[in-house]
Symmetry: C2
Subunit: 191 residues, 2 copies
Amino acid sequence: MEAALTLVGNGRHFASLGIREVTRQAEVVPTSFYRHFTNMDDLGLQLVDELAVVLRQMMREARSNVVQAEKLMDESVAIFITHVQANRNFFTFMAQGLAGESQAIQEGIRSEMQFFASELASDLRRLRLDEHLSDADLYMTCDLVVRTVAFSLTDILAVSPQDDEQLNRIRQQTTQFLRLIFVGADHWVSH
Amino acid sequence: MEAALTLVGNGRHFASLGIREVTRQAEVVPTSFYRHFTNMDDLGLQLVDELAVVLRQMMREARSNVVQAEKLMDESVAIFITHVQANRNFFTFMAQGLAGESQAIQEGIRSEMQFFASELASDLRRLRLDEHLSDADLYMTCDLVVRTVAFSLTDILAVSPQDDEQLNRIRQQTTQFLRLIFVGADHWVSH
DNA sequence: CCTCTATGTGCACAAGTGTTCACATCTTGT
DNA sequence: ACAAGATGTGAACACTTGTGCACATAGAGG
């Protein structure tokens, strides 16, 4: 799995990886592959499971680090970018999987994002923000937030990890997006 | 190119396609491939060029069909979904390319989206909507709109083309997203 | 009509691929 | 210490792959 991630991080697309290629990178004989996975899709699915762990760690850190609502967005986005940098290959795999060729992997990532959105909604409720929103409208807002951040993933991955200037631009842009969404949520009237 | 699109529409990922595979689908001998392209990346780039045409057609249709600002969003989203259905393979290719393995293809699609966003900004200016927004803020809003719609692409492509119920749900959801964004834009204060 | 260019073909080759099987080795619980 | 299960190995197989070459054909402009 680590070998596959390395290849993905090296510019390859997961869908184009072969068994022999992965085992070569893992410095293991091709036959060994079958001791752990039945095919590449299987490996991908297990990667999704590990991705879930990475995302939850990130969520935990965001929860404990965000103190006041004022800087909520700036800090969350900053934490997101930090985690993407620290797990670049994982997040590359995630970005690829969103439109990948395995429907199962796609669903896995998608459901992980939904989970993230509902957790975010709970958190906002707990912080007593956006109290005028119905549950459905709050969830919709969070869904849009998660999508926006997920999309900015492709921006982050497209620039070199050392290019702090560009990263800063992306960070500000993403924060602006979220700000815009929450201004919308503040003035939202259901119907 | 058509053969490649067919394979992509059949569930394959563009990055995993081989020359022989494509020529087989095109009912042509592998050697013929080299008469038109130097490698698969080259083919992909030409697909991006054609994608640009498809997108511009869609934009043109949206411009001519949207009459009053009231139903602007509903109609635009509806047109988008119609075009995705009519060019499913093209849009699947686009969704894949956003996190694909060819950096050139990625940039092509990305720049196409930017172009779309700036055209949208011009249109809104022309319709005298959101006049209180600075150019930069208006562009940011349009960028977010384009990203949101692009993301909903993955939703559309994930459901069967005949599943009208799900498609309707996606249509409504996307429209809600846009509505939320524009409510935000309405109350946006620059700083 | 005839030539030139674009496109398609058949064949060949070396290299890479997924998967199998029988056999070796390591790790772990008792 | 030892049995058992998990993991790794090497050789082998039938295919598929990308790409090069010499040759055929078709269509268009003079």
